[in-house]
């Protein structure tokens, strides 16, 4: 009976349509202005934001939610996560993040592996994440790790929004062994791959010449990169590698995104000049490896001050990256504020800026016409102790129930004296 009810709920969820909703008395961060709109009325209809106006009147027939002065933000956009690609990292059969052996390099396309039923999705969504870049961990052709996909944490159906949204490569001490043991080899291989892709673009052939290192699937996968339509996200942390990434972008006229960037602050002006955005982890402050000796909590603040576009991806020993993505992004953003980043800039780094970096239109803001992905918070969203009270994706209110919440309710202290064991609840 209980299962039947759950099924009915599921069907209802699938059928849910984007009704007209008005959120009143909100402190609305639209991300289109430097300050929030106070006592705002936010109107959503047809899955889009219609308007955000101070003390506006809800349209007739709209469902009205009173935010009671609480903060409303766009749905969070996780600049780099692996949600949908991994369930239990140590159980390899539940882990599709990497293709460490086999022929695939740039052609490793994670979009085929996305698991719409991952329990991690509901957890992230209940913490306010509505969109993300889900990126690959490793591929067999160094220094590439493959292609990432933009996902939307919808309440039903496929989470895949845009496959092959970015190419990823990893440079430095965590991955150099794959390239033969030196980062010099990593850069040489990366430059060679892009050169081979460019030659192929000029004269596509049935088969590559015998001195070519890449095979046809990898060469083809790189075509959008050299055409400038797909960003190349380079994972690099040491200053010398960041300088090299800047040089590569200039030499080849391709779009480069820096991922990691522990020492990026030391090249902030250069990164700003060439408009390379940085996706960083605001919790990276330890000299965790020799590539991170300059890691510091002020990284975000110094980059933003220099005019670099920044977005956040919080690893937390890799546990936060996918399993606690939403809460960790907010904690990271809060720490960045505690270390000098203006509040609005921190909020942008988990909403509008990652959407811009990955070219996700209509996401990350509450501008008129934007997708109605938004969150009402029960406190300051940059305090990780706060939580979402309502989450909308495409104008549809998402359930905040997660597997964790169901376990919580089974074992709540208030039920300690129930006659039947928790298994009956």
């Amino acid at each position: 009976m209980k299962r039947l009810a759950a099924l009915a709920l599921l069907v209802a969820g699938v059928a849910a349509r984007a009704e007209t909703v008005a959120i009143v008395h909100a402190r609305a961060w639209t991300m289109t202005a430097p300050q929030p709109v106070e006592d705002a009325t936010i109107v959503m209809a047809g899955g889009h934001v219609v308007a955000v106006t101070p003390q506006g009147s809800p349209p007739p027939g709209a469902r009205v939610i009173d935010a009671g002065g609480h903060v409303v933000t766009p749905g969070l956009v996780d600049a780099a996560t692996q949600i949908g690609l991994v369930e239990v990292p140590t159980a390899r059969d539940t882990d599709d993040r990497a293709a460490r052996t086999g022929p695939l390099g740039p052609a490793f396309d994670t979009s085929y592996a996305l698991n719409d039923n991952s329990v991690l999705i509901a957890v992230a969504r209940a913490d306010g994440v509505t969109r993300a870049m889900s990126f690959p961990e490793a591929a067999a052709t160094a220094p590439f790790t493959g292609m990432g996909a933009v996902i939307r944490l919808r309440t039903s159906g496929s989470i895949l929004e845009r496959p092959r949204a970015a190419m990823f490569a990893a440079i430095g001490d965590g991955s150099q062994s794959q390239a033969g043991g030196s980062r010099a080899a990593q850069w040489t291989l990366l430059r060679n791959a892009l050169a081979e892709a460019r030659r192929f673009a000029a004269a596509p052939r049935g088969a590559g010449p015998r001195d070519q290192l890449l095979d046809r699937p990898d060469i083809e996968a790189l075509q959008p990169v050299i055409a400038g339509t797909m960003p190349l996200a380079i994972r690099a942390d040491r200053a010398s590698d960041i300088r090299e990434a800047i040089r590569l972008a200039g030499d080849l006229h391709i779009r480069v995104v820096l991922l990691g960037g522990a020492e990026a602050w030391s090249l902030a002006a250069d990164l700003a000049r060439v408009r390379i955005p940085v996706i960083l982890d605001p919790q990276d402050d330890l000299p965790q490896t020799f590539d991170w000796l300059g890691a510091r909590l002020e990284n975000a603040a110094l980059l933003a001050k220099a005019g670099v576009a920044i977005a956040f991806s919080v690893s937390g020993n890799t546990i936060y990256l996918s399993h606690d993505a939403g809460i960790a992004m907010r904690e990271g953003a809060g720490l960045a504020v505690a270390n000098g980043l203006p509040y609005a800039a921190a909020l942008r780094a988990i909403t509008a800026t990652p959407a811009e970096i990955w070219g996700i239109a209509h996401a990350g803001t509450l501008a008129p016409g934007a997708d109605a992905d938004l969150v009402i918070w029960d406190g300051d969203p940059l305090e990780p102790a706060s939580a979402a009270s309502h989450v909308f994706v495409g104008g549809v209110e998402a359930s905040l129930a997660t597997r964790q919440i169901e376990l919580r309710d089974r074992y709540a202290p208030q039920r300690a004296n129930d006659p039947l064991p928790p298994g009956y609840r």
Binding site: E263, G316, N317, I327, G334, E383, R408
Partner: protein, 497 residues
């Protein structure tokens, strides 16, 4: 990285409880707390009680080898001045919140708390708008052995655990501590005044722990909290069996781990009796001195309590029964991701729970982690605390507590700051067997104190001033009190502008 971090995540611990005989023997002015007697020892009785052995030793001019402290503390407090903190919001760790309060630190001890305290001879610090708590105690750290920066050398041969055998009980983690680990310096700057370094969780018996003040020093002895009991780390579940299966040595199943533990303690019991007979004068044959058996004998005698890494509720229940049967005391289950499923059982057995706020899902035994774990454990009366397990988290333990408490409040529990602070201070002191000396701001306690820039549970707050035994060990506003490790000296000029 992930493998490394997962291993760390899996380490649980040993609880330390009992006063080390070593402390009694070696430390003349800073004695450990009175002993609890080693838990349920009904199978062993008192005829091999350590103190009685000590008396018998006179006959033979010998002591049981497990009572020695091989590396005695040389800790001395940093230079200090009597200090009066005024206008602070004080959380004393004993359930009180004192607004606009005062705290007097004299001769390294808390000398007064409340209002209208005497100012004579004390440096006065105006803490208006700021909060004061006891120093944070991290019962589960790997600082000094999980030394950053990590390199490929650590991949091959890390000092976190000795992996040559599933029984590494003979190891003392203090013999590996590198005081120049930048993680220790970051812990101090984050308000941590005491931490327990535990061996890792890949061995079933990880070895002896050590309790340190994370103050700048060139030797581990100079960081050792005088008289602090050692603990012994043990581990359940996936980590040891996975490691053993990989190395082809040791138990490859949970049931094998339990049998292994029983076997090891049975041997240790025989070893202890051999020594007892020898010291009694009944047997003139000098027994062998076996470091592994020494540690286990000390555990059986109640001199050392166990800090047990366990995730699943069923495993913790098995370990509790096993501990009763064998006669060893578990001070705490570390990680205890499913602790909330058996919270009243932990409380009834007087075993502490050492948890994160929100880590879950990174391995099968962590699949059922919930954010209300700490709050539910606390509600059942379990001595509950946060822990770091990693140098990055060791910098943000109050934020961890804040997250965990907020989840509990959303689940309907009352968790005011003056209660939650105990998850960082009083409860870990209890798990370490140091509750009579630290963890609260009661008069007479060690003056381990933090002045926070604001509400300590907020992400926007920082440790402003950190006192260890009444001495300023770190001050965010005074460059003279911002120590750096030798590793960080002279590197990357561009990186430290």
């Amino acid at each position: 990285m992930i493998r490394r971090s997962l291993r760390r995540a899996a380490l649980p611990l040993l609880a330390l409880l009992l006063p080390l005989a070593a402390a009694q023997a070696q430390d003349d002015d800073h004695r450990g707390p009175p002993g609890h007697g080693g838990g349920d020892r009904h199978h062993h009785g008192d005829d091999h009680d350590g103190r009685r052995d000590d008396r018998r030793q006179d006959q033979h001019d010998a002591t049981p080898p497990w009572t020695r402290d091989l590396f005695p503390s040389t800790y001395a407090p940093l230079p200090r001045a009597d200090t009066l903190i005024v206008h602070a919001t004080i959380l004393d760790g004993e359930e009180h919140r004192i607004d606009d309060g005062e705290l007097l630190l004299r001769d390294g001890k808390v000398a007064g708390i409340g209002h209208g305290l005497p100012r004579e001879g004390a440096r006065v610090i105006d803490a208006a708008g700021r909060w004061v708590t006891p120093g944070v105690i991290d019962v589960h750290s790997h600082d000094g052995t999980y030394v950053v920066p990590l390199t490929t050398i650590d991949d091959k041969s890390s000092d976190v655990s000795e992996l040559s055998d599933p029984n590494a009980a003979g190891t003392w983690i203090e013999s590996a501590i590198n005081p120049q680990d930048p993680g220790l310096y970051r812990a101090l700057a984050s308000g941590v005044t005491t931490l327990q370094v535990l061996p890792g969780s890949d061995p079933i018996f990880g070895g002896r722990s050590v309790v340190l003040h994370p103050i700048p020093a060139t030797t581990v002895q100079a960081m050792k909290v005088p008289g602090a009991p050692q603990g012994m780390k043990m581990a359940c579940g996936e980590n040891p069996k996975g490691n053993d299966a990989e190395r082809g040595k040791g138990p490859t199943s949970r049931e094998g781990e339990i049998a292994f533990i029983r076997d090891a303690f049975a041997k240790a019991d025989r070893y202890r009796h051999e020594w007892g007979d020898y010291l009694d004068g009944g047997d003139h044959h000098h027994p062998p001195d076996d470091p592994t058996m020494d540690t286990l004998a000390a555990v059986l005698e109640g001199r050392i309590a166990v800090h047990m890494h366990c995730y699943r509720a069923d495993e913790m229940a098995v370990m509790m029964d096993l501990a009763k049967d064998i006669g060893f005391r578990i001070a705490a289950f570390h990680h205890a991701v499913e602790g909330y499923k058996i919270a009243p059982m932990l409380a009834a057995n007087h075993i502490c729970a050492v948890v994160w706020s929100d880590w879950w899902g990174y391995k099968m035994e962590a699949a059922d982690g919930i954010r209300e774990n700490a709050a539910f454990l606390d509600a059942a009366g379990t001595c509950t605390m946060m822990h770091s397990d990693s140098p990055f988290l060791g910098q943000w333990l109050p934020i961890e507590a804040g997250k965990a408490a907020a989840s509990g409040r959303r689940a309907g529990l009352s968790l005011p700051p003056e209660h939650v602070v105990a998850w960082l201070t009083r409860n870990p002191a209890q798990a370490l067997g140091l509750a009579d000396r630290m963890g609260t701001l009661a008069v007479g306690k060690d003056a381990d104190v933090v002045i926070w820039s604001g509400d300590p549970f907020s992400v926007f707050t920082k440790a402003d001033t950190v006192f260890v035994d009444g001495a300023v060990a770190y001050d965010r506003h005074d460059p003279r009190y911002q120590p750096r490790s030798d590793f960080e000296v002279g590197r990357l000029p561009a990186a430290r502008p």
